[in-house]
């Protein structure tokens, strides 16, 4: 054992530079992936009692338990429904604005862009509580439109800034060339601009989707008691359920995000995503 785990030996066999690289990799994996991998293990543990490091018995017992809870299962359907509608609505509302902000110069353009950042500077909890009071007054508390509005709030900045940056990077000459050979403005947009800006739009849509899927603070305030999404249930699960059941539910929450991450890998560079945090 000590033959393999002797750090000195390891150091000299790799050389100084490679040794530090490996150390970085190990620290990175342990810190960022360790907790998630551990949770993965927990989710498939039937019996996991202290001081066992590895579960005494693996199985699907807790999956049956979680999937047998009516409220938890219905929260899964609800979360996906809300996330789909939020993403779609956010695109319909924000993309036209993103296009105009990218392509036209007009007074107040910068202010409009900046206002979305300022909206982010205001504490979310503060906006939620204030919206909560307004919703009480106009009867939107605990209703589906109310929840939807709360979810839209979280998507707006990204859905404006990121596609706006994407539209901006489509060369104007390309659009003009299409117009010159007789394409209508709409045709130009659909066949030239949109395909070229697509990666940015797709990434923004994906962030809207997973943002909505993970939104808990606002829904907790506005949606209860009628609309309990997965993250809202998760609060209760963290506090009341056995750790193994919590791990199952957490895993169900994370699966769609990981699938999306894999599906969109082609588009997901640091360059594309970071455009969502810069006003163009």
């Amino acid at each position: 054992m000590s033959y393999f785990f002797n750090p000195k030996r390891f150091y000299h066999s790799l050389g100084r530079r490679r040794f530090w690289e490996w150390l970085l990799l190990v620290a990175f994996i342990l810190f960022f992936y360790g907790p998630l991998l551990h949770m993965f293990m927990l989710a498939f543990a039937d019996k996991y009692e202290a001081p066992g490091v590895v579960p005494q018995k693996f199985g699907f017992q807790w999956w049956e338990y979680v999937l047998g809870q009516r409220t938890l299962v219905s929260s899964i359907t609800l979360s996906f429904t809300i996330a789909f509608i939020t993403t779609f609505a956010s695109m319909v509302i924000c993309l036209p604005a993103a296009y105009v902000l990218a392509r036209y110069e007009f007074p107040g353009r910068k202010a409009v862009m900046f206002s979305f950042l300022l909206g982010n500077a205001f504490p979310r909890i503060g906006i939620y509580t204030s919206i909560g009071i307004i919703f009480y007054r106009i009867g939107l508390m605990g209703t589906f439109p109310g929840v939807l509005l709360i979810h839209l709030l979280g998507t707006m900045m990204m859905m404006i800034w990121l596609p706006s940056g994407a539209f901006r990077s489509v060369p104007r000459q390309q659009e003009e060339a299409a117009r010159d050979v007789g394409a209508s403005p709409l045709q130009t947009f659909l066949h030239v601009t949109l395909p070229m800006a697509w990666p940015g739009i797709a990434v923004a849509a994906m962030f809207a989707f997973i943002g909505s899927l993970g939104e808990s603070e606002g829904t907790l305030l506005v949606g209860l008691p009628n609309y309990r999404t997965m993250p809202v249930e998760m609060y209760g699960v963290i506090l009341d359920y056995p750790a193994t059941a919590g791990a199952v539910f957490a895993l169900i929450l994370i699966v769609p995000n990981i699938l999306l991450l894999l599906l969109m890998r082609r588009y997901l560079g640091a360059e594309t995503i970071s455009k969502g945090y810069k006003m163009g």
Partner: protein
């Protein structure tokens, strides 16, 4: 620029309208409402009492200071780690750097609650770390729950990858040829860093700092689940004033105070953004 027709102007307005109406309705109006409410007492009369309370009450002041230093520590540590990580990813070639490069974005995709839950099962007193330590006959308790260390650790988990992503994007925009030519004429590694790489990426470092600062100064979920009860982060304090004590006016004033702190970083952001535009004009 040619003069635009009224049709084009109408088009611009119509395209902007839905997003503007929505953001006025769910961002601007609630913000204004909060601002007005913060100057009212429970009967609706004008008062400065809410603000006076926040800056004189012992508990409130404790919470403000606590939030400040937890946020400052988060920002500084996250940016420092993220910068080193980005430098490594940018200037090192090899399997390990490519592997980390493809793995570091994941935390951005993990829902807050899931990440916190996963971390809790590892670091709590009967958690994984404790069980591993018992293999070696010790009983190691990390003591990372319900104190500021735990909040900062969790914040780093979320924010190092985020900041590294922003900084990486800006570092990858620096062409290799620029760095190489400086090295060719004999510039030392350190001077290449301080005179080229740092100045070229400082704007994005500030952008990353702005967002890390903003999202952490008002954070709720992390401190609510793993933070201490006293002193507590302002996000939790605000939520408690609202839900438990139903003190809507005080929680409104608290929102405004947090907003003012955040706005400082928003202005820094705007300033760096405008400055860069002037610099571009010269070219």
């Amino acid at each position: 620029m040619q003069k635009r027709t009224w049709k084009t102007n109408l088009f611009i307005v119509l395209m902007l309208l839905p997003a503007l109406v929505l953001s006025l309705g769910i961002i601007a109006y609630p913000m204004l409402n909060t601002l007005v409410k913060s100057f009212r007492d429970a009967e609706g009369a004008f008062t400065l009492e809410n603000y006076r309370f926040l800056f004189t009450d012992k508990i409130a002041l404790d919470n403000i200071w606590f939030t400040f230093w937890v946020t400052a520590a988060t920002v500084l540590l996250a940016i420092a780690f993220a910068y080193v990580l980005s430098l490594y990813l940018r200037f090192s070639e090899g399997k390990i750097s490519r592997l980390i490069g493809s793995l570091y974005l994941l935390p951005r995709f993990v829902p807050t609650l899931v990440a916190i839950y996963a971390m809790m099962t590892v670091v709590r007193d009967s958690g994984f770390l404790n069980r591993v330590s018992q293999l070696f006959g010790a009983s190691f308790k990390p003591g990372l729950l319900f104190n500021p260390k735990g909040i900062i650790m969790m914040n780093l988990w979320f924010n190092i990858p985020f900041a590294a992503m922003i900084v990486s994007a800006s570092l990858s925009a620096i062409p290799n040829s620029v760095v190489e030519s400086a090295r060719d004429v004999g510039a030392h590694k350190l001077s290449v860093f301080f005179r080229m790489i740092l100045p070229l990426s400082i704007k994005d470092v500030l952008i990353a700092m702005t967002f890390v600062f903003m999202s952490n100064i008002s954070s709720f979920t992390t401190p609510y689940l793993i933070g201490p009860n006293h002193p507590m982060m302002l996000g939790v304090y605000l939520r408690r004033q609202f839900s438990t004590y139903m003190n809507y006016e005080l929680s409104a004033a608290l929102s405004v105070v947090i907003f003012l702190f955040s706005s400082v970083s928003a202005v820094v952001y705007l300033y760096t953004n405008l400055k860069q535009k002037e610099w571009e004009k010269v070219n």
